[in-house]
């Protein structure tokens, strides 16, 4: 088992309405290579759940155990290192560093981890996403689909234990979205990667092995 989410609760203090409970006892497990789609309405807590899974926030109670590590028990430094090496993230808005080229964006996690063979691994990742000829382009000079492919390459370059994708195709037209989705699922399949996909797109969600819905703070 690669991921075990056990009964997690998360709430936020609100000035007007007191405590706002977002997650109310979410639990699920995932095996290596499994893919899971999480759907839900706006404000249902998808982003909150994703930030807990990525170790970017901590639950009020419950635990997230990823690759044998309880994220709650890691201090901030170790959590950051763990995130760099074990978690890959892909966002709807791509979130590339605007002043870094495609290659520099992809090599960023490797540099953070002070990895070896940065050049080779970056080139390999660029090749995987079909952007060898775009390596020196800044994000501003790339199309939306190309940006998302850079983001996928960046997420996969460290060979993480799990990939978290937030509205993968939300910012792309349907044709480009499909191409990007094909690329992602092909790569995930080929390297037997665990994937959690947050999406409104039912077609995209349907390509995952499991589908769940987040409603009233619980996973259904």
């Amino acid at each position: 088992m690669i991921l075990k989410v056990d009964n997690i609760y998360k709430s936020f203090a609100q000035a007007e309405s007191g405590l706002l409970e977002i997650l109310k006892g979410v639990s699920f497990k995932m095996e290596q290579g499994e893919t899971l789609a999480i759907a839900g309405q706006s404000g249902s807590g998808k982003t909150t759940l994703l930030s807990l899974l990525a170790g970017l926030d901590s639950p009020d109670s419950g635990s997230v155990i990823l690759d044998g590590e309880d994220l709650n028990r890691l201090n901030e430094d170790r959590l950051a290192k763990f995130r760099a090496s074990k978690i890959g993230m892909i966002f709807q808005q791509f979130h590339l560093m605007p002043h870094l080229t495609a290659a520099e964006n992809i090599s960023l996690p490797l540099e953070i981890l002070k990895s070896r063979d940065i050049e080779e691994r970056t080139s390999e990742a660029l090749k995987q996403v079909g952007l060898e000829n775009r390596r020196h382009h800044l994000p501003g000079h790339l199309s939306g689909g190309e940006c998302q492919r850079v983001a996928i390459a960046r997420a996969l370059v460290v060979k993480p234990a799990i990939l978290l994708a937030d509205e993968l195709t939300g910012n792309l037209d349907s044709r480009t979205g499909n191409q990007v989705a094909d690329l992602l699922f092909d790569l995930v399949d080929s390297i037997h990667m665990t994937l959690i996909l947050v999406s409104h797109n039912l077609e995209l969600a349907g390509r995952c092995q499991r589908q769940s819905r987040l409603a009233d703070g619980k996973l259904q």
């Binding site: 982003t47 990525a54 970017l56 430094d77 090496s85 993230m89 979130h95 996690p109």
Partner: protein
Amino acid sequence: MSIWLRLAVKEITNNRRFSLLFIINLAIGLMGFIALNSFNHSLHAYLEDNLKKILTADFLVSSNRPFSPEANAVLDEITGESKTESRQISFLSMAAGPAYSRLARIAAMDVNYPLYGRIMLQGDRRGGPDSIQAHLMDKPGVWMSVNTAASLGVQKGDTIQLGQKTFYVADLIQEDPESAISNFEIAPLLYIGLDQLEGTQLIRFGSHVDYTIFYGFPAGTDIQAIIQDLKKAMAGRPDLFFTVEVIDQDRVSQRVGRAVNYFTGYMGLIGLVALFLSGIGAGYLFRGYLEKNLKQIAILMSLGANRVEAYIMFFSQVILLGIIASISASVLSFLVLPVFPRIFHGLLPPDLTVQADIYSLSLALLLGALGSVMFCLPAVIRIHQLKPLHILKGYGPAKARSRRMLYLRAAAFLPAILGFWILTVDQVNAVGKGTLFLAGFLCAALVLGLAGWLLMKGSRVLSHTPRIVWKISLRNIHRNRVTSVSCFLTIALGTYLLTLGPQLKSGLEQEVNRPKGLMIPGFFLIDIQPEQVEPLRAFLEDKGHPLANVSPFISGEIKKVNGEDLAQWVDQMEEGRGPRRANREFNFSYRADLSSSERMIQGRPLSHQPYDFAAGEPAEISLAESFADRYGLGIHDVLEFDIQGIPILGKVVNIREVRWNSFQPNFFILFQLGVLEDAPKTFLASIPQMPEAEKLSLQNAVVAEFPNISMIDVSRMVENILTITDRISFSMKFMAYLSIFAGLIVIFSIARQETQSRLWEINLLKVLGAGFRDVRSIILLEFSILGFMAAFTAVILSIISSYIISFYYFDRLWSFRVDHNLFSILAVTAVCALTAFTAAGKIIRQKPLSILQAV
């Protein structure tokens, strides 16, 4: 290069506009700081290098009485065989040329003067021992500066009258030890030979004379040991040496240094305020920049970077920018430094060269690097509570709700305050003064900040108006809290500095020129012998001028206070309150009633009954307030005096406030009638104001008839004082303008950043039909309101502060300057609006479409 440093460099180069404004902001403040520090160092180094030249000896002993043969024997024995010595007698006297006369300081010297340094005569000739012997000792010659000769209307070879003796102008001086300090001359120096002094008959009983022996020793002599032996011997024989003091290089350094420190310390503090304002600007800019870049931190954190690494990246940027600003400031300071001697012309040694020194440059580099971190820390600390996914989802940064975060944010200001404190202490060279300045500055900043906050709140109330331009401007002020308060604080602090100096000077100037209820005399007369009082009165009455305020002048010692030796009494005083050393010799007078320049503030008037020596009670005395404060004396304290060998007890019955600027004869201690009448004395007096044209002929007539009486032309003296204060005031104003300039750069940066961040809003207004003029009016109005309110508040605060400072330090001399204050308010408002308009101009002229594309 580490990834973080590489990213930092990349961010700096990719945000050129921000980087440039940040560097300019910081560089302006640092430039003033480097220039002032270098100036201070050059001046102190000059004084240090020229100490011997200024003192003209390794040390000197000085007394206001002639050294007795016994005292000379003791001095000779201690100073030993290897010394060289030079003797000098100096005093104030009138010097009369054929047409003009003026007050001068006569230095009667022997051939050895000066032991160090030199007197250079016109034509680059050295005034050495042979010249002194030939022209000043063997003949009645006099050396004077070219300026002095011009003021006496004489040239080389002409004659002047000193007392009863005629001297010829043997030569004109090009450079002498005096000119190493300053070239302002209130009583210029005239050199004559010691052997020629006798015939002048200028030294009589009660004349104010300094007898000085200069000592020089071969290299390698332990001079400090000799000074210690001398002081020990002098302490053991107070009968011989009680008026003698030893002045060595440390003492001169302290004296000169103290005066220089007051001046440069004040300038340095204003320089620091400019740096502080620059820091506010830089901090503000960085805050906006960070806000824009929070997303990048979030990306990095989601990729596995931790907060420390995010801090490293931003601090690397700040430090790099700070270092670039320091280097730019250093280059700029090289351009500014040559201007300093021009600004301070007349206040500085003429041959002083000001140059940037390595200490100032290193300090600037350190300040640029660390200072920028300190100023940006309150902004960078926001990374601490950053939630990456929230930012990436576009929710914006979370607000500091937890108490811990609020404390952390408040604590982020502490390094800047601590750094500022260290710098203020370094500038004024005293912990107490530095702390007091910082406390005052923080109080002023707090008051101004509070006023800014009130304005922000008030603008919300006032914004309920149907006039759209007013409504939006006022709402902008209200909702952009940090912007409004930063702008307000920056403008207000600059204006405060600019208006405080002139406001303080105004009271002093008015009082010196036209003291309220007092008539400044035309002349002040000193050294009038008792037998000359009546003939002088008759002589002046004959000329149509009365002799006024004739006051006896008696010298004596204060031995004890309340039965305790004066030195011990002074030693017991709280450090920094009392005088630096107990000076025993004082000047006294007696009169039953107070003069028009005095006011009793405590106790009862002196008795009109003559003192009865037989009664065995102490005599009644009155103390000047400043003297009582300095020596910690009050009503009922008993002082033991030695007046020309006769012990007298005096009991304080009242404390007087004295208007020293009245130029009337005033004294620290007044005795009741009947105590000092028989003591040997001279008299001081004044002659009331007269038309300027009559002054010279009257002065010449008095000098001709009573050559030993010194006449001080009060108007001329006031003119000299005002010239010096004008110079100082100008120098201070220069620094205040620098801080205003720093403030304007801040306003420019803030206005630019604000308009940039309001692109969408401006665009929306235009899309809704607002014209270029409307958008321009909104910006102009917003910054005019901020400028006006800040300047108005600063002027009010400077009026209050100047009143408080005048009340405590300048004998309540205060007057309100309407014109200057009004002008400051209007000028600052206009400059603010213009600066903001210039900064925003390009953006508000853009077409809405291009702005939409930019978004």
